[in-house]
């Protein structure tokens, strides 16, 4: 297929791990793939190999009809020839240039009028008005990040590579920029590969998630499938949130939002009061299982369902419940025995509205 980017390569470090990656991205349209995993998993190495900053020992990288890397025939395109936009974790802004100088750094060959137009476009897009003559050292972390994005986007790259784009920011700024970054990436006609170890960031940005650990990609898929149906225990431990369901708001009341999920109504506490489509994230330890009919309690969500699987994991058991959608609960082994939980047992799963974490999508 011509409109695809494929990468399949291996990078070895002396005395270190071997990094293997196999990835496919669509080309020429907005699509975000999040490379998700703990630090040291080799995520940044994958980005650097794609950018041409590292040379893989073995493998191929193809971008549409171009070959960037093919170790069999000794092809290794230099970074200059690839047309990627690489956003470094600490932004790597040129300290001796102003904001305007940084943004126009790579479009020096345009004539001055065109350059001005492009600069203004980037200033507007990333809301950097009034900062044109500042130096990077005079900017806040969030502003630096936006300048770095502007510098990368100004030359119209064909592929965006983001290395932990929000990790250098303080928590409130990160919260705010996450949504902005998502809107920005949606508006670009190019694929993005974004590295992160933050699952909220992964769910916010991703169209596709690739979970990486120990130098290997363990699972690739849509965000809700990877988070809700991890392929194995290793992936489950990495993603850390057991149930992720896509849902749409069907009603709002007193700061709560009602969602219709597989015919069941779920209530969740909502901070913003904006947006329609969300991911509903529920951690297994926040799910309470009871036998029999729906009890009445302070919790808003009571879901009737059946146990599909009980799996001991140390002192606790991981119980999968089918209540129209797959829900995972963590109970002590003693509780699992007392309730005689086994596949087929009818249960009521109780989830507090405040235990459902909403991520706009």
């Amino acid at each position: 297929m011509a409109d695809e980017m494929t990468a399949d390569f291996e990078k070895r470090y002396n005395g270190g791990p071997t990094i293997r990656a196999a990835l496919g991205l669509p080309v020429g349209r907005s699509h975000v793939t999040v490379l998700f995993g703990p630090s040291g998993a080799g995520k940044t190495t994958v980005l650097r190999c794609l950018a041409g900053l590292e040379r893989p020992e073995r493998g191929r990288v193809r971008f549409a009809s171009e070959t960037w890397v093919d170790t069999d025939v000794g092809v290794m395109a230099p970074p200059q020839a690839r047309g990627v936009g690489y956003l470094f974790q600490d932004y790597a802004l040129f300290p001796h240039l102003t904001v305007a100088g940084n943004i126009t750094y790579a479009i020096h060959d345009l004539d001055s009028r065109e350059r001005r137009v492009r600069l203004d476009e980037m200033i507007r897009l990333l809301r950097l008005e009034g900062l044109e003559d500042r130096r990077p050292a005079q900017l806040s972390g969030g502003q630096q990040q936006r300048v770095a994005l502007a510098r990368v986007l100004a030359r119209r790259p064909r592929l965006l590579l983001l290395d932990e784009p929000l990790s250098a920011l303080d928590a409130p700024t990160r919260e705010q920029l996450r949504g902005e970054l998502r809107a920005l990436l949606r508006g670009q006609r190019m694929p993005t590969l974004c590295v992160t170890h933050d699952w909220v960031e992964a769910l916010t940005l991703a169209d596709q998630v690739a979970v990486m650990a120990g130098g290997r990609i363990l699972q690739t898929g849509s965000p809700d499938s990877v988070f809700s149906r991890p392929a194995n225990a290793e992936v489950a431990a990495i993603v850390g949130v057991e149930t992720v369901i896509a849902g749409k708001v069907v009603g709002r009341q007193d700061g709560l939002a009602a969602f219709d999920v597989a015919g069941k109504q779920l209530w969740a506490v909502e901070a913003s009061g904006k947006g329609e489509a969300f991911y509903l994230c529920i951690r297994a330890e926040d799910v309470i299982l009871e036998i029999g009919a729906q009890p009445s309690s302070s919790a808003r969500n009571h879901l009737a369902g059946r146990v599909t699987d009980v799996r001991p994991a140390g002192p606790v058991s991981r119980v999968a419940v089918d209540c129209g959608f797959a829900l995972t609960a963590l109970v002590t082994r003693q509780a699992a025995q007392d309730l005689a939980l086994r596949p087929g047992t009818p249960v009521t799963a109780t989830v507090k509205a405040s235990a459902i974490h909403l991520i706009p999508r």
């Binding site: 900053l53 230099p78 790597a92 040129f94 300290p95 001796h96 750094y105 790579a106």
Partner: protein
């Protein structure tokens, strides 16, 4: 006061510093970024003039530029006169002798530029040479100035190499330090004192400029 040796020395030091900018930068760039496993050998060669007695260096240069060496013969065939005991021969020796004084501050400055900035420039599509000129060089300005000033000043004060390679030909190879030596030999202490004072003041000013530019003196090799 005899100005001819001072003018000659300024000309020699100026040209040496100029050549070292052109020659020293590529060497420093290579030393900074090369991953060649035998690089330390090249580093040693560049640093040799720091520890070698000037007479030893001068002796080898004299042999190298002499009429029997390929370099001397090639030069004579090209230009029409021999290289030894000429200003050009002296310039050649000076460049070698002051090489570490230019290369080491250059390399130290290049090495302290964040490699991420260089990589960022490459991924933005900017060639290696343009990246060097637009990122590395501006960010190493203080180190480059230090290298130029130090090699200039070092050439100003050289004695042994000049004596070995240039001899003592007034207006051609008779530099300030040779002039002072001659005056003392001739028991003309007043003449020697005048010229010596000029050199002393000059050296002090130069070092002050270097120290003012970067507070810490250059290290022998850049930390990496």
């Amino acid at each position: 006061m005899n100005w001819a040796p001072i003018v000659l020395t300024l000309k020699l030091a100026g040209l040496t510093a100029l050549i070292l900018v052109a020659v020293g930068m590529p060497i420093a760039y290579w030393l900074t970024y090369s991953r060649w496993r035998w690089k330390f050998l090249a580093e040693s060669v560049v640093a040799l003039p720091l520890v070698l007695p000037p007479t030893v260096l001068g002796f080898y240069v004299l042999v190298a530029v002499g009429p029997k060496s390929p370099l001397g013969q090639g030069y004579q065939a090209l230009v029409g006169h021999p290289l030894a005991f000429t200003f050009e021969g002296l310039l050649f020796a000076s460049v070698l002798y002051s090489l570490p004084f230019a290369v080491q501050p250059f390399a130290s400055a290049f090495g302290s530029v964040d490699p991420k900035l260089v990589e960022a420039s490459w991924t933005l599509g900017i060639s290696r040479l343009a990246t060097f000129l637009r990122v590395t060089l501006p960010l190493s300005a203080a180190g480059v100035v230090t290298g130029v000033v130090l090699s200039f000043a070092h050439t100003m004060g050289e004695f042994g190499v000049v004596l070995m390679v240039g001899g003592n030909i007034p207006g051609v190879t008779r530099t300030v330090s040779i002039d002072i030596y001659d005056e003392v030999q001739a028991l003309n202490y007043a003449g020697a004192a005048e010229t010596a004072l000029v050199l002393l003041i000059f050296s002090f000013v130069v070092l002050s400029v270097v120290y003012a530019l970067n507070r810490n003196m250059w290290v022998v090799w850049p930390m990496r």
